[in-house]
């Protein structure tokens, strides 16, 4: 057995995605020594058997939606009448607070590529695309890994670097871009699994899902289900940060509570005023609520949040939650693809109001307007940016309610003068860089 990395010893006896040396990419030789060869999927029978294994494993997508992988694959395979299907691996990591996809691609690229290859064999694809954000460290490691692996007869994987925008990592935006258009979401239907790249049925999956798939294929459904929550089994990568000064990627069994995951990496929840779960598309939770909430889609839903792409950020008490919520709202407003009126107008209106709340001068007449905008914006865009942004802001106003009251009364606390905490990429102009 490999030596478990320090970060995964306590909750997981043996890490699955983590590798012994987690600083350099695993070479193909090391990868094969650790995991063994990728099993062959031969003929109709082999494909059906592999689909059954995937179904029994209970693997659900790790990109945010949590959709059962086997169901998605069946839908794509059924759409093969429109020409041979296409596989797209999504490593774009639109969430600024998420680092797990880059982490995977730069440590264990072969596991991801195995997953791509296997998914392609199961749905009958001969062409696959791996998408990362432009400038991502993952692009280089994956290209080198592809060279190491050499050519596979009748199958190709192409690496693409997309404009680093929030909504560009949305499924329909990826497909749009691969079809030669701008990386902007489209007003669905058809969904990519019906008609996607080159108008063919397209399987879009997050890179972590594909890495997990590569393990399921080798070790089977029972092995996969042997850790984690019985209804959403396996392990999960989290991008964790919090006080005192923690910031790292960690692999935990699904169903681990937020409290346990944070404690494992040394985050002090007592020194936090709110925990952001799921990223900027996510939800602020009160620390006491977060502590006991299990990290599954169901568990997060019950706590009023969503697991999203696995971001767990505990805000230090020295930082102002109102200011942080305003900063992210401003960032999200700038991410609008500029296509839908309610998003283009509503998100900046919300962000402006929050900036006044955070930094003053606040005007009480803004309160009902802000409430109204937060209620009319969701559900009125082609993608879910408006919904996510509104949910994020509402959760911040609720979680930091005491601070909000102080800001409204024009006596913000000392922490609102503290420096920025949540990582935000520089804001780009709306018109530039969608190709």
């Amino acid at each position: 057995m490999t030596t478990p990395s320090l970060t995964t010893t306590r909750l997981l006896r043996a890490p699955r995605l983590f590798c012994a040396d987690d600083s350099a990419p695993t070479t193909h030789v090391e990868h094969l020594r650790r995991h063994g060869p990728l099993p062959a999927v031969v003929g109709e029978h082999g494909r059906a058997a592999m689909l059954t294994t995937i179904e029994h494993s209970g693997l659900v997508g790790r990109g945010g939606a949590g959709f059962p992988l086997a169901r998605k694959m069946r839908a794509v395979a059924a759409g093969a009448s429109t020409g041979s299907p296409v596989v797209v691996a999504n490593g774009c990591e639109g969430e600024p607070a998420s680092r797990k996809d880059v982490w995977l691609l730069t440590r264990t690229p072969h596991l991801v590529l195995d997953g791509v290859e296997l998914a392609a064999r199961v749905v009958g694809a001969r062409e696959a695309h791996l998408c990362v954000h432009r400038g991502s460290a993952g692009a280089g490691t994956v290209r080198r890994a592809l060279v190491e692996r050499g050519k596979t007869e009748g199958f190709s994987i192409t690496v693409h670097e997309l404009p680093p925008r929030y909504v560009a990592s949305e499924e329909t935006a990826l497909v749009h871009w691969l079809n030669g258009a701008e990386a902007k979401p489209t007003f669905t239907p058809p969904r990519p699994f019906e008609r996607g790249v080159g108008r063919r049925a397209t399987l879009v999956n997050n890179v972590e899902t594909l890495a997990q798939l590569a393990l399921v294929a080798r070790r089977g459904a029972e092995w996969f289900r042997s850790v984690g929550d019985p209804t959403e089994p396996g392990t999960l990568l989290l991008s964790v940060s919090g006080p005192p000064q923690v910031s790292q990627v960690v692999e935990v069994p699904t169903g681990t509570t937020v409290g346990a995951a944070l404690a494992q990496v040394g985050v002090d929840l007592e020194a936090s005023t709110g925990v952001l779960v799921g990223g900027y598309f996510g939800t602020w939770l009160r620390p006491d609520v977060a502590a006991s909430a299990p990290l599954t889609h169901r568990g997060m839903h019950a706590a009023g949040a969503a697991l999203g792409a696995g971001v767990v950020a505990a805000l230090p008490a020295t930082v102002c939650g109102v200011v942080e919520t305003a900063r992210v709202a401003t960032y999200l407003a700038a991410q609008s693809a500029g296509q839908c009126g309610p998003c283009v107008n509503g998100l900046p209106a919300i962000a402006d109001a929050l900036r006044l709340l955070a930094r003053g001068p606040w005007d009480e007449s803004l309160a009902p307007a802000l409430d109204r905008w937060l209620s009319i914006v969701p559900g009125r865009g082609a993608c879910r940016l408006p919904d996510g942004a509104a949910r994020f802001v509402v959760s911040g106003l609720t979680t930091f309610a005491a601070d909000v009251a102080d800001h409204r009364a024009d006596r913000p606390c000392a922490s609102s003068r503290a420096g920025a905490w949540l990582p935000l990429p520089p804001v780009q102009s709306r018109s530039a860089g969608w190709r």
Partner: protein, 84 residues
Amino acid sequence: MATTASRPVPLGRLAVSIMRLQVNPIACAAHGLCAELLPEWIELDEWGYPLVDSQPMPQQLISHARRAAAACPVRAIVIERSGQ
């Protein structure tokens, strides 16, 4: 499939197919004509974009809705039929 073909569909069922209104938010350019033609079901927000009721539409409004959809210069109003 064969069984459904052999069983006659009660005519009453056909008449009550549920219609809902949707706006294609990418196409919509805030012309506002729709709200003028169908004020019972569409109002405009502060930026001039339609806020539509997502409930099933009452039967008597459907012909008005069709007219509003046809009047939209960018054909952004979608009338969706969702079975039964």
